[in-house]
Symmetry: C2
Subunit: 273 residues, 2 copies
């Protein structure tokens, strides 16, 4: 999905909500836990319940890998289902990859290649290894790299805020340097909602890039704050909620409750668009 | 495998060689390329040919993921084979993972859990997200996190050498801060052989940690330099070679040629131990 298609989707659905598919069997409804294909059936129900309110889905690879090879089979079924729908959605492999150039090429193939098992629109990537670890993700037409800039966790304070000269912090240096590696048409940045007051600094360096904003909900970030400092005249935001939507209930009504939570966020988003 | 077992293995095999299993079908011998289980059979032949000269094997996850789910099946068969051997070897998932705490826990489960599909001894992790992204990998007894400090690629110069105050560079700050997250019994660091002259600075901050050193061979690093600056009285090094060993030949003699290349490195290593 290219930039214009994403923007059109956001304005037609009046939403910039991303639903994080962080499926943990321990938190799934009892009737699906031991079902063959239970993870896929859970995801399918969540997708069906939320697709009118969300523009993006973000499976977190760790949760699927923790289930072993079978987890990746469930992920493939989920992606096949998303690709089969008449209602489009932007897909994000939340995988935090990144390695030397020849290896990042392989990760790009694994996640973004239209001929591969998953065919995601985008992939999250860590910046520590620099240019050649990031650029291989920008070569697929209409596909995106989403580079970590400022993350939503406590550990973000260990390195991301370090001053690196010229009154710049490391995350600002990452944003600035990465401008040479991609464009607003193929590069987004992760900026945690728990650090929404930093969005002014982020927008100073990356005025047009889409930002993927995790941390609303369970991690305590505020949607209002994120919009105040991060919204652009092309929206420019994808705001993720995972646990707050998919585990709104762990009973038989989990999909209905997920729909309610997604709709609440969509209505707030419609109001600011 | 715990620290003492690893040290004993190194001195009994008189080697600190790690063989990187970066299997690319395009570089495999023709007779294995289209074979079912060809990737596993290739790895098995490489392992059989090199296990007397090597103490560790490092599958690079990207190369398996690029083959889709089938690639991970081949990886599982490779790990099952390594676990079945009477000759022990230290295993490294070169996966460059790392995410917020609850997600890193899932990655730890995916790769290190003895009950999981892979049961690696260790996993490479990127430091950008800080403490809670790294610590979940230190909880399994006898298992290790291998944190990126100074990588072997050109992109290492984008951020890793940035001055972060007190005349310290970012990679030194990573090494120093990480001392609070793990011990020499459960934490190693990646330090690229292409930057061997930096090993003095690394050893000043991390005198006892094992270092995983990629970049010897194809990437141009020198084993002699690495030993000169990195060796400790408990060895303290695992030196990786991937392409130089596994693709020494792409003919029917690939395993023999791999053995030769591994033996050459082992003999150099025996001489310095």
């Amino acid at each position: 999905m290219n930039r214009q298609e994403l923007i059109d989707l956001i304005y037609s659905r009046r939403s910039f909500l991303c639903v994080g598919l962080d499926v943990d069997k321990n938190k799934m409804p009892a009737h699906l836990k031991d079902e063959p294909d239970g993870v896929f059936l859970f995801n399918k129900a969540i997708i069906d319940a939320t697709i009118d309110y969300a523009v993006a889905y973000k499976p977190n690879l760790a949760f699927y890998e923790a289930m072993g090879i079978e987890g990746l089979v469930q992920l493939k079924k989920t992606m096949d289902y998303l690709h089969s729908l008449s209602k489009p959605a932007f897909t994000i492999a939340d995988a935090k990859r990144g390695d030397i150039g020849n290896t990042s090429q392989q990760y790009a193939k694994a996640f973004l290649d239209p001929a591969g098992d998953f065919n995601f629109d985008s992939l999250t990537v860590a910046p520590y290894m620099g240019a050649d670890s990031v650029q291989p993700f920008t070569v697929f037409e209409g596909k995106w790299v989403i580079l970590l800039a400022l993350t939503s966790n406590k550990g973000a304070f260990d390195f991301q805020f370090l001053p690196v000269g010229n009154e710049q912090k490391l995350f600002e240096k990452v944003l600035q340097t990465a401008q040479q590696w991609g464009t607003p048409d193929n590069m987004m940045f992760v900026v945690g909602a728990t650090k929404a007051d930093m969005l002014t600094q982020v927008r100073a360096v990356a005025p047009r890039n889409f930002l993927l904003v995790p941390g609303v909900g369970a991690q305590g970030g505020s949607l209002e704050e994120v919009c105040k400092y991060g919204l652009t005249d092309e929206c420019g935001l994808l705001v993720n909620s995972s646990r707050g939507i998919i585990y709104a209930s762990n009973g038989a009504d989990f999909a209905e409750r997920a729909a309610e939570e997604a709709r609440k966020l969509q209505q707030q988003m419609a109001a600011v668009l």
